[in-house]
């Protein structure tokens, strides 16, 4: 039996489900054994894989979040592109079966898809219906705009229904990158980085500044509670413990929310927008991760990997994963399967993510963001956000510095990859 190492970043509920998939594949045949290993958060998994690659101890498959895409794409020698892998091993492979935002994001300039789509997500809003009710709000009318969100949060706090209005995971992804996309604001030049290495950040525009300013103000008022850098590990417990009434995070947080929100009812809604900026919010952008195949293993291993990818692409597998976790159904077939099962009817809110990511026509600003070293640049954004919250910088200053420092990181990446 050939062992195939798969490093991933799926913890808790998601991790359990992922292990089931691996088990499913292992049970489906006898030649290969997928060995999934949890390597920490997304950034940790990415860096562990890179370090391992340098040490020639890399796994065959590594799950890399969308932010690492720029980095991975630039590392031509390290990656075995999935389209090539499938062709080399004679596995069926039809990229057109995948959701458009997904294929668009993970394809190179020639339109070849480089990594195996697996768990794509987009951020949505979760809210505590019980608290809404307690505060005298309609539990079935979540806030649509930031202005509504502010008022409702105040009502909730003042009524004592909860001690905080909202919290959020991924300040970078949810409150900055997606905010930019939804309001059709550029995040960087060269089509948010899709156009090449010479790109620069531009996320210090007025909309982003205004939003950060608001977040700071709301944090001072207690309406908003910061959940920490990166994924924001402190955010979910605040929502689970009914401290905060609203919680914005990946659609994939759904699994955790359902598992932990035992004493209250949860509502799902799209992310809010500023109606004074746009009345036609654009699609939100993709998150989550894909599976990258790393070079340097035996052909036998790659054969197994290709088979595994085929297994993964099956509508049943995809639909089950999507339904259990909240990740997007990444193939059209899986989405259709869900519809035919009336899954979305029975689970209201479970299709919010799909609708949100597919609404309208994507613009250059809402295709997604794809930069080299974006992980590091995100760390900078987190830091500057924290600096702003701590009051040592205004939103404008924080974003300006973030852009400046971020550009330096882009230049480093450019220099190292030329």
């Amino acid at each position: 039996q050939t062992e195939i190492a798969w490093w991933h970043a799926m913890d808790a509920e998601l991790g359990k489900k992922l292990e089931e998939i691996a088990q499913g594949f292992n049970d489906s045949q006898t030649e290969y054994k997928i060995v999934p290993t949890y390597k920490g958060t997304y950034p940790e998994t990415l860096t562990a894989a890179i370090a391992a690659f340098r040490a020639n101890e890399q796994p065959a498959i590594v799950q890399v979040f969308e932010v690492g895409t720029g980095t991975m794409m630039a590392a031509k020698g390290a990656v075995y592109p999935v389209y090539q892998l499938m062709a080399d091993n004679g596995e069926p492979w039809d990229p057109s079966g995948f959701l458009a935002p997904v294929t668009g994001y993970y394809s190179d300039t020639d339109g070849n898809i480089l990594s195996m789509p697996f768990n794509s997500s987009t951020p949505i809003m979760y809210y505590n219906k019980d608290v809404f009710e307690k505060a005298g709000l309609d539990p079935n009318t979540p806030p649509k705009t930031w202005a509504e969100l502010e008022t409702m949060s105040r009502t909730i706090m003042e009524s004592g229904a909860a001690s905080c209005g909202f919290t959020s995971g991924w300040i970078t992804w949810v409150q900055t990158e997606n905010l930019s996309a939804i309001h059709d604001q550029p995040y960087g030049t060269l089509e948010n980085g899709f156009g090449g290495l010479g790109t620069e950040f531009t996320f210090n525009g007025p909309v982003q500044v205004k939003h950060w300013d608001n977040l700071k103000k709301w944090a001072d008022d207690g309406l908003f509670q910061y959940g920490g850098p990166g994924g924001g590990a402190d955010a979910p417990p605040k929502f689970y413990a009914q401290e905060c009434a609203i919680y914005m995070n990946s659609s994939a947080s759904r699994a955790g929310v359902i598992a932990n929100a035992k004493d209250f009812e949860v509502g799902f809604a799209p992310l809010p927008y500023y109606d004074d900026v746009t009345t036609d919010p654009k699609n939100s952008i993709i998150g989550g991760a894909t599976l990258w195949t790393l070079n340097g293993k035996d052909p036998a291993v790659y054969k197994g990997v290709a088979q595994f990818y085929t297994y993964l692409s099956q509508p049943e597998v995809q639909a089950a994963w999507h339904q259990a976790t909240g990740y997007l159904p990444i193939t059209n077939a899986a989405y259709e399967l869900g519809q035919s099962q009336d899954y979305y009817g029975q689970n209201p809110g479970s299709d919010i993510a799909i609708q949100q990511i597919t609404r309208g026509t994507p613009t250059a600003n809402s295709k997604g963001v794809r930069f080299g070293n974006l992980t590091q640049a995100r760390a900078v954004v987190d830091e500057e956000f924290e600096a702003m919250l701590a009051g040592s910088k205004t939103a404008q200053e924080a974003l300006d510095t973030a852009v400046e420092r971020g550009n330096q990181i882009l230049r480093d990446f450019e220099a190292a990859n030329q």
């Binding site: 490093w7 799926m10 913890d11 808790a12 509920e13 998601l14 991790g15 359990k16 992922l18 292990e19 290993t37 949890y38 390597k39 920490g40 958060t41 562990a48 370090a51 391992a52 340098r54 040490a55 020639n56 101890e57 796994p59 994924g231 590990a233 402190d234 979910p236 417990p237 689970y240 413990a241 401290e243 955790g256 598992a259 932990n260 035992k262």
Partner: protein
């Protein structure tokens, strides 16, 4: 000394009791947390009194672990930690006692240089040369193996120093008597020096065992295979995800289990421990 100041005696005990409380309280909380069910951490404040789930939590962690959080069963990790700690301690003692013997009982060209080379190891904690050391280990194919966990940590200036200091206190006459009695260098080492170093070796073992046990960054880097995880690094993995799904009960059960062996060693071998510590560092 004749001294009659009851207030001072009272103050003394007060200070000590406060000190003990400060030292014990965090661990008390951890223990309490490890005896509760997961739901008990959703209520705004940690429980302060023991709950009913102790056995359950501990046996779950020992036997199953939380593989989705990168933590295999704790029993495996505890075993790895034990192997690592013991082999590091033994290895350090062996190579250090030999080199200290060479440095103290012989004079040879480059003696000072050898001494300095060994001494330099003290200067370079693994954290500051982490990337190249990792590279060396991976070039040698020692990632994900016990040798990889152990050998790079085995050169120890500290242990060499302790032995050197101790050897310097062995009366010159003892070695002279042995030489007059017809013992050569290895015979003297085996017959006289080694038996005399027994308590030092034991004391050092305690200290080095703890040193090996508490290693964190190194195992974190050189193991990518969960079969080689040590408990200290495994716990960090667990804790990192603890928030998104509050399972502090399991984390703290693991914390207690990871603390227990070295703490027991310190408490049970207090005399040796103190001797080892105070003498190594001086």
């Amino acid at each position: 000394m004749v001294e009659n100041r009851p207030f001072l005696a009272f103050l003394t005990h007060l200070v000590l009791i406060l000190g003990v409380v400060i030292v014990v309280f965090p661990v008390y909380l951890a223990f309490i947390a490890s005896t509760h069910g997961p739901g008990d951490f959703m209520r705004g404040l940690v429980p302060l009194l023991p709950g009913p789930h102790m056995i359950e939590n501990y046996s779950f962690m020992l036997n199953e672990g939380i593989s989705s959080a990168g933590a295999p069963p704790l029993s495996i990790m505890l075993l790895n930690s034990l192997v690592m700690a013991i082999l590091i301690a033994v290895g350090k003692i062996i190579i250090s006692i030999l080199s200290a013997y060479a440095i103290v009982f012989f004079k040879f060209p480059f003696r000072l240089l050898a001494f300095w080379i060994i001494f330099i190891t003290l200067m370079l904690p693994v954290e500051v040369r982490i990337i190249p050391t990792f590279k060396v280990v991976s070039d040698l194919g020692m990632l994900n193996s016990y040798p990889g966990l152990i050998i790079p940590l085995i050169a120890s200036a500290t242990a060499t120093f302790l032995f050197r200091q101790f050897f310097l206190t062995v009366p010159d006459e003892l070695m002279e008597a042995a030489r007059v009695d017809g013992a050569g260098p290895m015979k003297f080492f085996r017959d006289i020096l080694l038996p005399l170093s027994r308590t030092n070796i034991a004391a050092l073992f305690v200290i080095l065992f703890i040193y090996g046990w508490v290693q964190y960054l190194w195992p974190l880097l050189v193991t990518t295979d969960s079969r080689y995880y040590t408990v200290v690094m495994g716990i960090k993995r667990l804790a990192a995800t603890a928030d998104s799904e509050p399972q502090w009960n399991f984390v703290m059960a693991a914390v207690m289990l990871a603390m227990l062996p070295p703490v027991l060693v310190v408490i049970l071998m207090q005399r040796l421990f103190v001797k080892g510590l105070v003498e190594t560092e001086k």
